[in-house]
Every structure is written in structure tokens, then in C-alpha cells.
Symmetry: C2
Subunit: 199 residues, 2 copies
């Protein structure tokens, strides 16, 4: 069993979201998808946006590295932009919807659709019409899902995921935990799965 | 041809220093070793020490990750400490000596000895007696080397390496460049070498 900690604003989480299920199945490992928010974690470090924006050299490198990694894995990618050139977009709404989906069985497919839209098609992951389409495609009911994310229980569940991430030592995304062992970055996915498979 | 940008305060550079020559030789790639200083680059980002110290969760993870990676590669490792519990030690003197060595043909072996001493044996890489032993072991003349690092020419060469690193987009270590293409992190070494071999 492996826990996959992901955040929709995280570029490298996109690669893991597209890769983890097939790789885990091949190794006989069960995957627990856990969306969480990096915002509170970054804010505690004094960051008010992605470190890839705060440190431009690192950001420029990250996009080139993402292009190379995506090409290697056959995953489509197009650097996201918003009207003001900003990135990332707010991921809270999408993360709450993913949680509803994970509670109901359509969350993994929905999460992949969000990532594909965001990073290969510049889709606005805060747009309720676009999100509704993805919910339907993944097998969920948009009306019900949008109602559910307004409940305190659902909001609390996402806050709890973020608290759990911090407790597990998570400081970035994607991260993977296998028992007490923490792995950070899509490039550690195979190592994490190997450990999970050996248990 | 691949350029290997390294810094003695960088933990992951240790892994690359131990791995790069054998991997490059197997692929028929020539390696240019380029020591540089992260201090000025980090200072420009507002950091006065290693980001692994500034962000404790990241630092704690890094050491665990280093232990796992080192074990995977059969490289010895022991978390370095100094009398005040601080890390990293100043790497300027060792970097200047490495440059003398690279100019004279004993720099790669000296660099490996510095890394092994630092990260597997808590050796003080600012201690002139210890450094002298490594110079001798690598085939250099300590008296001559310590005289050379006081010259403006040698000091200027290290400053130039750091300027060149910044121009190449380097923001951390280890980094690798193949033409205009930049790779960051020991876990990108194989990709960088594959690109170099394909040229």
C-alpha cells in the first residue's frame, strides 16, 4: 500500500497521476490517492506562490525538465498560462471535488482529467462548467458534487489531508508514503513502489 | 561532452562525483568537472545557508533520501556534523584546491576524496592538514597547491566558474550541461549522459 499525496497546482504531480496506477498494478501495490493543499505549507515557509515563480531560474528549469520528462513518458504537456500570465491557478475547488470523487469512486479518473486539462490544454481548473464536464466524464454527478463541497464535513476532510501531509513530513508534491517512509518527487515513484511491493 | 557543475557543500553532488566518470566512460562521453560556489547564488535568493537548513522538513527528508540513494549505489554515507552541529562547512578553500588540481590533472581524484571524507567520515574540509593529505593521495603537491590558491588568477577562475554557472541557468548542485541543455540533480545524471552520448 502506497499513499499518493498530490496537489493540482503541482506540475510534477501530473506526471505521477498519469503513471502511478499502471505501475502500482504491475507491482501488486494498492494506491491511496490523497489530495492536499500546498498553500498552507508554503505559507508557513514564507512563500505566497509556487517556489517556481519565486525563484525564476528554478522555474525556467522546471518547465524544460517537465517537457523532457513528459516526452519520455509519452504524456502531453503545454505550459499553462492564464490571462495575466500567472500560474498556478487556485486548486482548492478542484481538490475538494476530487475528494468527493474519491469518496464515491470517480476521483482518480477526475483527478487525471483535471491534470490533463490543466497541463496539456491550459484549461481553467477553477471554471465550474469545465469541472462539471470532467466530473461527468469520470462518472460523477456535478450537481451533487458541487453541493457536497460546500459542506463543512468535506472542507474539513481536505484540511485534515493537509494536516496529515504535514504530520507525515510532506513539504512538496507529489509525495509518496509507504509506512513511515517518505518519498518526494515523481522521480522517486518507482523507488516508493518497490518499497511498497517488498512489504 | 558533459559539464559537471559541483559544490563541496552539496550532498547530492557527492553521489554524482562518485558515479559520473564510470557512467560517462561506458557511454563514451567526456566529462568536464567544474567546481563552483552556491553561496553567491543562494545569497541572491535571500538565503544565507543551505536551503536544507532553512526548510527543516526538506532537510530532514534530504538526509533520509541521501541514505537511501547512497545505499542503492553502494556509496558510504554518514550525516556530517561540526562541533556546533552546523552544516555545511565552508567549501571555498576545497573548491580552489580542486581547481588547481583540475588544472594539473589530480583534481577529480582530489574532489572524490573531499566528498568521501566529508560525507562518510565527518572530515573537516577546511582543515589544511586533512586537505594536504588528500592532495598528496590524489597526486598533487600540497605546498605548491596552497601557494597557488592565494593567487588572484586562481581566485578569479573560481569566481568565473560561478559566473559561468549562473549564465548557464544553474541554481543548485549538482547540475549538468550538454550544450544549452541544463539538468539539475544527481537523479538526472543518466538523462544528461544519454543526451551527451547521442550528440
Amino acid at each position: 500500500m502506497i499513499t499518493f499525496w498530490y496537489e493540482f497546482a503541482s506540475t510534477y504531480s501530473y506526471l505521477s497521476a498519469m503513471r502511478i496506477d499502471a505501475l502500482a498494478e504491475a507491482k501488486g501495490v494498492e494506491v491511496e490517492w490523497k489530495p492536499f493543499l500546498l498553500g498552507p505549507i508554503f505559507a508557513a515557509q514564507g512563500w505566497n506562490t509556487s517556489p517556481f515563480n519565486i525563484y525564476p531560474a528554478k522555474g525556467q528549469y522546471m518547465w524544460r525538465d517537465m517537457e523532457r520528462r513528459a516526452a519520455k513518458y509519452g504524456i502531453p504537456i503545454k505550459r499553462p498560462v492564464t490571462s495575466d500570465g500567472g500560474w498556478p491557478r487556485s486548486s482548492v475547488k478542484a481538490a475538494r471535488l476530487a475528494l468527493v470523487g474519491l469518496n464515491e469512486g470517480w476521483g482518480q479518473e477526475f483527478s487525471r482529467l483535471v491534470y490533463i486539462g490543466e497541463f496539456s490544454d491550459h484549461a481553467d481548473i477553477t471554471d465550474e462548467e469545465i469541472l462539471s464536464n470532467w466530473i461527468r466524464q469520470a462518472g460523477g454527478d456535478p450537481l451533487h458534487a458541487f453541493k457536497t463541497i460546500q459542506s463543512d464535513a468535506l472542507k474539513g476532510q481536505l484540511r485534515q489531508n493537509t494536516e496529515d501531509a504535514i504530520s507525515a513530513g510532506v513539504f512538496g508534491a507529489p509525495s509518496f508514503t509507504v509506512g513511515e517512509e517518505l518519498f518526494w518527487g515523481d522521480d522517486r515513484l518507482e523507488d516508493a513502489l518497490d518499497l511498497a511491493a517488498s512489504h
